[in-house]
Structure formats: C-alpha cells, structure tokens
Symmetry: D3
Subunit: 130 residues, 6 copies
C-alpha cells in the first residue's frame, strides 16, 4: 500500500498535460516536480491548485522573492518537509542568498518562541491592538 | 486564578526597568506593550527575549519590514492571537500597506493548503531537492 | 540510541498478547502493525489505547468509513507520517476509493487555507455563531 | 489598530457584490457571514476562495455532510476558533446530530492522541504501508 | 448557534453523575470544572476521558507535578487556551511556584524555537541517534 | 539542491569553534551533534541559540531532567523528528528510564486528546480560571 504514484507527462490525459505545460512554460523549466505529478492523481485539485498558486505568487504589492520566503516560513512552522525542500530551492532561484536564509530561519525560530511565550503566559491583547 | 499580571514600570525592579528603557529607546515608543510587561514576571526571560529579538530583527541581509512579515506569517500558522495583533501593527508601522497584507495572507493561506496536500498525498522528495 | 524496538508476539508477555489477540480477532488480520508493537513497550498505554480506539471507531451515529476519513484528516493536519500511511490504508480497506481520497485531500487543503485566512484576518465570530 | 473591518454589501464594489450574491444564492441565505465580509478587504482573495470552496464542497464522491465534518475536524486540529464555530453550524444545517458531533469529536481527540504516540515513540512505517 | 452547554449535576443522568462524583472524590473538590460539564454532552466521551486521565495522571515513575507540567507544555505548544488556564491552575495546586512556571515557559519557548531551526535547516539525524 | 551541509570543527572559523568548544566542555562530550554543525552555517544563530539554551537548561527551580522532558514533550507536539531523537537521548542520559518515557508519552498523548476536545467542544473558561 504505497502512497500515490507520480503521473508522468507521457501517461497523462489532456487536462493534466495542459496544466503541466502551463507550469513548465510559466516557470521555464523542462519538467514539473513531484508535487504536481502526484496531485495529478486528482485532476481538479491539480488545476485549481496551479491556478491559485500562479495568481497568488505573481508579482504584486509584494515581490515574488518575498512571497517565496513567506511560503517557506509557513512550511517550516507547519513541518512540511517536502515544502521546505521545494520552497528553499524556489527562493534560492529567485535570489535568496545563504545569509538571507540564515536570517529567515532566525526570524522563524524567534517567532515560534515568542508565539509560545505569549500564549503560555496568557498575555492580554493591549487596548491599542484590539 | 487569573493569568500573570502585567508589571508596570513603576512597580518594576532595576533589571526590568533597564530592559523596558532599552525597548522604548530602540523603538522610540512611550511605553512597552503587554507582552513585555507580562514576561517581566520572569526577568531572565524578559532580558534574553529582548536581546535575541533586538539582534534578529535588526536590518541585515533582509530588511526589517520583510522580517516583520515573516514573523506575522509564522504567528498565523501557529495561531498566536496576541502575536498576530502585535505583529500586524508592527508591520504596518514599518510600511506594510493593506494591499501587502492582503497578499501576505493569501500566500500564508496557499502555503497552508499545499503543505497539507504534499503531506496528505505523501509526495516523495524529488532527487534534485534532496 | 535507536527508537524503541517493536515487540513481537513471541517476545510478549501475557498482558500484551491478550491485546494483540483482540486486535487481530477484531480486525481479522494475521498480525498487528508496528504502531501496536512499539507502544507495547509500555503495556498500560497499549491496553488503554486499544480499548479506547475499539470503542470510538465502532459503528455508531457515524459509520466506520467516515470515522477513518476523519482520523486521516486530523493526521494530515498534524503531520503524522506514520498515521497518514496507516489510516489511508485503513480507509481504503473500508471502501475509500481514489476519487474519495482525492476529494478528502482537497477538503483538508481548503480547510487548512481558510483556517489561516480566518485567523490571519482576525475575523470576529458572528453573533449568530456564538 | 483594530483588525480589518467587515465590508457590508451596501459599501461593496461590484466585484465583491457579485461574489456575495453568488454565496447567498448558492446557499439560500439572506446575508454572508463575517468571514466573507472580512476577506472582502482583498477582493482577489474573496473571489478565489469562494470559487475554490464552492467547487470543493459540492456533492461528489463524498457527500456534502461528510465534507463539512472533515472541514470541522481539520479546523479543530488547527485551533481555528472562528472556523470551528462556523463549520459546526454548517454541519448541523446539513444534518449532523448531537450524537454525530459527539462521535466526531471523540475521533478527533483519539486521532490527536495516537498521532503524538506514533511520533513520540518514533514508530517505523511498516513495509506493507510504504 | 452557541457552543454546547455545560451540564450541571442537577440536570445530569446517573451515568454522568457517577463520573462527576468520582472526579470530585478523587480530587477532593466541590464541583467539576466546565471541561467535564461540557463533554458530559457525550457521556461515553466523559467516562472514557476521565478514566484514561485518572490512570495516566496518577503517581508512577513520574510524579504528579511533573505530569501536570508536561500537560501544560503540550497545551501551550498546541494553543489550547482552555487547557493552558486549567493546567496552569492544576500545576500550581500541586506545588508549581512562579519561578518554576517561568522556567517551564522558557523551556517551552526554547524548544519551539529549536524545533523550527532543526526542521527549517533540514538537519540530518546523527548516526548515533537513529 | 541538498539541505545545508554540517560544518565540521576542522572547517570552522574561530567564532564557530569557540561555541563548539563551549558545548563540548559544558556537556563533556567529544563532538557536537548535527544540529550545531548545521546551524553553524549562520554563526550568529549558533552563538545565540547555544547561549540561550545553556542558560535555560541549567539547574534552577526545575531540575535538568524535568527540563529535558518538557523539551521532548514540546518537540513531539510540534512533530520535530530531529528534536525527538536528540532530546529522547538527552533525557535518557540525565536519568529518564523506559518507564518514565512510557509515562511521558502517555501524558503527551492524553494532553493532545483533551486539547482537541476542549477546543472542539468550545468549552468556556471557568470564572475561577480567568
């Protein structure tokens, strides 16, 4: 009873191929990674996830590198090993240096610590922050 | 059996006052917020937390606004209501617009969704990402 | 310093064997899986966990397949890799099709996304929902 | 520095009104709840979230009540108070009885317990489950 | 659509009363707190939860105060506000001083920070720890 | 794109070596484990984390074994596999027996279960606990 198998382009139906093509074109890469190949087992999820992601991660008020770093921070806080691996790579591709990664991880660690301190000490929200 | 009471400057001993003074001076604010007043119930935690935070959040390879936004993203992923309130305010003070907040929250939501998809589908890490 | 070793039937004392026998009989399986073999290192935990689980997962107002799917959803939200593997298998044994799994994972992902949106946006609970 | 304010229909622009109208029509309700009114502060998030949710929660291989219960289970595991309130109500509207809720909560609690036992005991995944 | 109502002793059936009586007797308290009154809406959950808790929290290889502090640490890590309030009180009743609470919270915060550092840096498990 | 590589003593600069030396001296061990070698990729994080940890885990109102067990409990609740492995070993070194570990894991599991029950049932905090 293994996990779901990745679906390769050659095995994929037209709906899945169309999404794979769009991912490869948008990102200028030769192949999609395992995340897309596995969720292709449920084509509506593949299509909706890609469309949402493409819209959300596009340049806007925040630049794409900042968005990738936010994505990585959340993935660490939620212990998603796959996502940490893939979004560390994606952020590096967009220009995150080792020094930036070091600082990002320090912020994530610090936030995690003070989150628990604020919750554990039952700190009441300040009037000015309500 | 209420939670720990905030410690006001007037009640505080010299060790706590020194930290409060440094926070107020560094941030140019008239008073510290409840987080600091409550953790002042354990002076070593107050001192260590402030010194760590001051070092980590200072300008470096990442600018302070990006750091505040990462802090906020982690606080949402970990459901810390106090921290969400205080770091939303802190990020706004550093220049986060409503549009930037809207995009940040969209990224946090999307990351949270794909974290669970990657984990639930048991996606194997790609060779290239190991 | 490896993790705790699984305890096989042949090595087990009578208290552990009695639980293993009941699991095998109730589920009509030839052997228990590693979860039970490992927690057998602490016999009171083995016994209590099995008795609680047997009671909770029995048919009731919810049918056993729905219960298995709820179990799987929680295990994904909490990033328990072992539990995701074992409860995906258990749900399939009870009739969960690939299409049902695909929809389950979509719901888990969506819930995870809107959980973070509601928390991050600090949405006040509606009067009618209090 | 309060949280984002809910946007009422009367204040909303045409893009937001179109989504509110579709929610009200689809669910046959006189007004949308606070979740939608607050995320309307970022119209692209409102539109995308509603469209994704409408697609995912529609009848399919899983019936809508089961989907609502899965949604609720995830919301509990992730401590989203707003979502617990709103999806408990939504599931009741779709037919969840008090007895079904009692069993759902028992399953969520049990899953949470065994998730931690499996992780804490470092149980190795069985060959047959890989 | 409020949450479930607490069930008072005077309204309770004999099965619930028997559990309430045992809690009051075991803990030597005049009334049970809201946790028990609310889960009494599902009597099998009330009975099983109390019996499990009574067994687990009894003196053993770990003394009851250490167990209460572990309970509190988990409740903070999982953001359960009710449980933080009730287990802080329970630990104080068993002898936890303010200084002990301060140190406990410092450990919880530190663990939370290094958990995220280890995960975010993708630290490989040492041979000796496997 | 592998994760960050561990930094061995022979490759390390003087700032990193000084921290490694202090860890080895304080703990009376011949080498530091991978956690320290990997976070040494960001020397300020290495230094600050070690100094904080050394202070927090020193004997105080709580003895070091209790602190290690609290650390382990949090690491399980947050699904940090590396930390579970390393702090199980550290607690054993400080005297945690198999029986104590069994009880610790039972408490963590139970807390996790009742955390979700309290949250899912939306239990209101008792007057006396506010």
């Amino acid at each position: 009873m293994a996990g779901a198998q990745p679906i390769e382009y050659s095995q994929a139906g037209p709906e899945v191929r169309a999404v794979f093509d769009d991912i490869k074109h948008t990102r200028n890469i030769p192949d999609v990674n395992n995340f897309w190949k596995v969720i292709a087992n449920h084509p509506p999820t593949l299509k909706r996830t890609w469309e949402s992601l493409k819209g959300i991660m596009a340049p806007g008020a925040l630049d794409p590198l900042v968005k990738e770093m936010l994505y990585l921070a959340v993935s660490i806080a939620q212990s998603c090993d796959y996502c940490i691996a893939s979004h560390t790579a994606a952020a590096k591709k967009r220009g995150m240096t080792d020094e930036m990664l070091g600082e990002l991880l320090a912020v994530v660690g610090m936030a995690s610590e003070t989150n628990r301190l604020a919750t554990g000490w039952r700190v009441p929200v300040d009037e000015a922050l309500r």
